[in-house]
């Protein structure tokens, strides 16, 4: 039974866990770039709370980490910990990918639910979910000067979008939000997990007329 744990405490734990998982991925970008500990902190914070921050600004509700400092402290502690142990973390990279998939799933559904709770329509709620799940990583890649998750063809944003749609569809069918949430988390995690396992990626845009993109580029200048 869920009653074994008070729902609010469970939510807070899940919340902090997701932020930490994202913060680790930011800190690992810092380690790849050989940054100092302050660089680790910046990237951990940006990645950890970036998506939720943009969501809250768009929803015009108080930004979640401004109210209580837990999330920021969790990101900063994560940054310092990774700075002094990145070699251990990196050797468990595949494990991390799976944690990241879990973080993505939790955060996507939480973001979608927050959208609906604040009165957005279905489409906008899905966008809120995807933004919460992916904007942190996009900012991490921009600031860390790495190719953005948008420019890769990994199934990442897609997994987030499918999970968000699942949640919105089930919530519209008046399922209790815990059930809808569990289904949304499961879909995101399953799609992302399959992509990790089988190295799936989305088909790239290919020109239909057989001409190479470079030829067209000439036209465009």
């Amino acid at each position: 039974m869920m009653n074994l744990v008070a729902p609010t405490e469970l939510l807070l734990t899940v919340d902090i866990l997701s932020v930490v998982v994202f913060a680790v991925s930011g800190a690992l970008t810092a380690s790849r770039k050989s940054l100092d500990v302050v660089g680790f902190m910046w990237l951990a914070v940006l990645t950890g709370v970036g998506g939720g921050t943009v969501r809250d600004l768009l929803l015009d509700v108080p930004v979640f980490w401004m109210v209580a400092p837990h999330h920021i402290v969790a990101c900063l502690v994560t940054a310092v910990a990774v700075h002094f142990s990145a070699h251990l973390v990196e050797s468990r990279y595949r494990l991390l990918l799976w944690f990241d998939a879990l973080g993505l799933a939790l955060v996507t559904v939480a973001g979608t639910a927050k959208g609906l709770d604040n009165g957005t329509g279905a489409v906008v709620a899905v966008v809120m979910g995807v933004i919460t799940g992916t904007v942190g990583g996009i900012v991490r890649d921009l600031v860390g000067n790495e190719p953005s998750v948008i420019l890769r063809r990994e199934i990442y944003v897609t997994a987030s979008g499918l999970g968000a749609c699942t949640y919105v569809a089930l919530a519209a069918l008046a399922l209790p939000s815990l059930a809808a949430g569990a289904a949304g988390v499961a879909v995101t995690f399953a799609v992302r997990g399959l992509a990790i396992t089988y190295n799936w990626s989305m088909p790239a845009y290919r020109r239909r007329d057989g001409r190479k993109v470079e030829e067209i580029e000439g036209l465009r200048k």
Copy 2:
């Protein structure tokens, strides 16, 4: 007579049209980078609604696409359409440049007017207009990893700024806002159109003392 169309409907149509034009330019960036359909969607949405989003956050009014989903849906549909027909769109690139000029003109004036309507002064209203017209493209270039419109010397931001100034000046002279708006649109479109036709660009900063920038760089390290 303008009465042939209800003003609100006209405004909404113009609004959606501008968002679609910008979304197309985002989707074309995605096609140049051979992204998947999700990448097309991200870039279409960022370019289509980015400028207005920043404007609304700064004005502290509800973000326009959060209230009703038309704009987001328009961006997503545009992204999918371009993904499956980019070769057709690209062969009409010059036509698109003109549509983009029209979009820039409409969006600049709409953004400037929204500033004034929300009580900003003249300078800040002009900045709102320029932000609405150009921030979407800046974010598109940042995320798409292309040289930003700021770093090129095209007459684009300039056209937007001149149109915004025109609108503010005429509104200050108490002209009806439809007339001031038409003039602002005309100025932006004309300046941008001349730049497209004659390949105008702004003079680059050139060092006065004849030394090359690279020599100075040495000093700066």
Copy 3:
């Protein structure tokens, strides 16, 4: 005695001065990239008011430069002035570094104080101070396509963080805010000044297991 100058006027002067110093550093990035005058304006505005803008959005208070146009006008005038005299400005680059250190110190403390005044806790107030001091420069580097201040190991963000901590600690000890502010400014300025003078930088992250980062990269693909 402080009464020689009305405190509000003093604050506004300090405020504008810091914005101008940051705007100069944005405009110099534009000169390095040989941009046109509009590019100078964009980078001056982004660098000058970027940090405070993000802070105010996060605090959900009116964005400081939307209320009165002084800051924007100061940035635009600075941009034009630097466009026509960058060779003079650059030959005084070292002087500028010191002005920038002063700007960082003032802006950090002002941002931290604004956080506390709006009811944030100590940790979040420090983050507000660091954001106010450094986000403008980060955006400048992103848009200007230069390596971000985060990716360098300069003692810049660190100086800002230490000054913000000083202010928060002394304010918690119930010192009058002018004294706490002076101490915060002094700490930031001193740390940054020492870093400039002795070319200090933070230790980079180094792998503990002796393997090169490139070897690990292989694992990560």
